[in-house]
Symmetry: C2
Subunit: 306 residues, 2 copies
C-alpha cells in the first residue's frame, strides 16, 4: 500500500497521559497527522499539554475535539470509556475511525461499540509499551519503536480503516499485529497483567513487615526485589481498570499460578531437590527461546525497558 502523508488530516486525542502524549509526539515527529486536537478533563493537564506543544488545539470538551476528526484515539483510563463514547458520539463525522490504547480489548469494545453511530469505524488498539511514569510530561516520541501494537477489530470492520490505523502505528515505529480481542486479553493476562499483579503483591507483602526488617528490605532491595518495585510503581488508576476489566482471564491464569506455586511450596517443605532443579532447568530454557525469538523479529528490541 502506498502511504500518503499525513495519514489523517485531523486527529483527536481524548486523554493525554503517557501514551497519549507519546503518540502526539510521534505523530508530529513523523508527520502522520495534519492537525492534532487534544482534549482532557482537567484544565491543569490541558495547560501542561499545551505548554509541551503536544497538539495544535486544546479543549476541555471532547465533542469539540472530535468534530471533523478523521481519527479519534481514546487515551483515557478504561473506566472512563463509556462516558467518553457517549459524550463524543453525536459529534463524530461519518467515516471517522475511533481507536484507543487500552490494555484490555473485550471491555473496550463492550464500553465503546454500543454508543458509536453507524458509519463510524471502531478499531481498538493496544500499544504494548510503557514506563513507570504517568502524565503528559512523561511522554516521548521514541516510546513505540521496537514494541508491538495489537489491533483487535471485529471481523466485519472496514478494511481500509484497519489498514490506516496499522499504518499509523507503523509510522510511529511499532510493529502491528491483528488478533481477536479475547485472544489479546488472554495473552496479555499472562505476559502483563499477572506479572503486574504479582509484583504489586510482593511489594505489598514486604511493606507489611516489621519496621526493622522493612528498612533492610529497602536497603538490600537489589537482587530481585527491585525489579518488582519498578513494575509495582505503574499507574494505579490504569492498573485498577485492567484488573476490573480483564477479570476472567486474570482469575483463570491466577488460579493456575497459585496451583503451581503451591506445588513449589510443597517441594520446598519436603526438600524435593529433584523437582526444584527440574523446574529451574526447564525455565532457563524458556529464557533462551525468548532471546532467540527476539533475534528473529526485525526492529524488535532484543532487550530493554518496556
Amino acid at each position: 500500500m502506498t502511504t500518503v502523508f499525513p495519514l489523517f488530516n485531523r486527529v483527536a486525542l481524548i486523554g493525554i497521559g503517557l501514551i497519549g502524549s507519546s503518540l502526539a509526539l510521534a505523530m508530529k515527529k513523523h508527520g502522520l497527522a495534519g492537525h492534532i486536537a487534544v482534549s482532557t478533563r482537567r484544565q491543569e493537564t490541558l495547560d501542561t499539554a499545551q505548554g509541551l506543544n503536544l497538539g495544535d488545539s486544546y479543549s476541555l470538551v471532547a465533542a469539540d475535539a472530535v468534530e471533523d476528526a478523521d481519527l479519534v484515539v481514546i487515551c483515557t483510563p478504561m473506566g472512563a470509556y463509556e462516558t467518553v463514547a457517549k459524550s463524543i458520539a453525536a459529534a463524530l463525522k461519518p467515516g471517522a475511525v475511533v481507536s484507543d490504547v487500552g490494555s484490555v480489548k473485550t471491555s473496550a469494545i463492550r464500553d465503546l461499540a454500543p454508543h458509536l453511530p453507524a458509519g463510524v469505524h471502531l478499531v481498538p488498539g493496544h500499544p504494548v509499551a510503557g514506563t513507570e511514569h504517568s502524565g503528559p510530561e512523561a511522554g516521548y516520541a521514541e516510546l513505540f519503536p521496537g514494541h508491538w501494537t495489537i489491533l483487535t477489530p471485529s471481523e466485519n470492520t472496514d478494511e481500509q480503516a484497519v489498514a490506516k490505523v496499522k499504518a499509523l502505528w507503523e509510522g510511529c515505529g511499532s510493529i502491528v499485529e491483528v488478533m481477536s480481542p479475547g485472544h489479546h486479553d488472554r495473552v496479555l493476562g499472562i505476559t502483563s497483567h499477572l506479572p503486574h499483579l504479582i509484583a504489586y503483591t510482593i511489594v505489598d507483602t514486604a511493606d507489611q513487615l516489621e519496621d526493622d526488617t522493612k528498612q533492610e528490605v529497602i536497603k538490600f532491595s537489589a537482587s530481585g526485589f527491585r525489579d518488582f518495585t519498578r513494575i509495582a510503581a505503574s499507574d494505579p488508576v490504569m492498573w485498577r481498570d485492567v484488573f476490573l476489566n480483564n477479570r476472567d482471564a486474570v482469575l483463570e491464569i491466577l488460579g493456575r499460578f497459585t496451583e503451581d506455586l503451591t506445588a513449589m511450596q510443597r517441594a520446598i517443605r519436603k526438600g524435593d531437590a529433584a523437582m526444584l532443579i527440574e523446574t529451574f532447568e526447564r525455565t532457563r530454557a524458556i529464557r533462551r527461546s525468548i532471546i532467540d525469538a527476539k533475534q528473529h523479529i526485525p526492529d524488535v528490541k532484543p532487550d530493554g525497558e518496556d
Copy 2:
C-alpha cells in the same frame, strides 16, 4: 585501619563459577592477593579457568590449593559445602580465614563450622550480586562495585579476621555490612529468594499453556513477563540449594505472600476497585522510597543490573 597490600599472601578459591571467577579477576585487578590458587572438581572447568588466567596455580584437589593459604573462599554450590569442608580441614594452617559466597548463611555455618579445626577463623560472606550467566567464563572484575556484601561472623570471631575479609570485599568495590546469619536469611528471603521463586513459577505456569497461547506468550513477552524470565534463568543448581537451605524463612514469607495474593484475587473477583487502587498507590510510594534510599548511599548504583 591502614591497609597493607596484598591483603592476603595466598588465597585459595574452591569452585570457580560466576562469583569465584569474578572475585579472582577483581583480586588480580586490585592487587589484593599475592597468589591465587584455583581448585575445582572437573578437569574441563579447571582448564577453562586456566585458559582465562584466573589464578596462579590450578588443582583438582582442594586440600592442595588450601595448603598454606591465608584465606580460603568457598565458591561451590552450597550443597557441596560439607564435603568441601571435610576435604580441606586437615590441610588448613592455623590462623587461616575461611569464607564463602553463598546465598544462605545459617546453613553455611551449619555445614562448615563443625568440620573446621580450632584456630581457623570462619567469616561467612555473601556478595549480593550476580547475573543470569554461570561458569568461569561469565565472571568479570566489575561485578561487585555498587553492590553490598554481607558478612555473618559469629560474635566471638576474631576481629582481625573479619576486618580483613571486609577489606577484601571493599577492595573489590563492594560495600560491606555485618549482620547475624538468621537476619541475613530472613531479609534475603524477601528481597531475593521469594522473588526468584515467584519468577520461576510464573515462567513455569506460562510454559504449561497450550502451544498456540505459549507461542504468543513468547512473542509478546515484553510488558512484564520478560523481567521474570531473566530472573528465572538463574543458575538452577544454585537456586535449588537456596530453597533447600533457606527453607524456613522462605516458607514463612511465602505464606504471607500467598495470603496477600488471595486477598487481591478476592478483590478482583468482587470488583473491589477501592482496595485495588489503595494497594497500588501504596506500592508506588515504596518504589519512590527505594529510589531515594539508593541516592543516599555512596557508591551504590542508583539502578541497573544485579
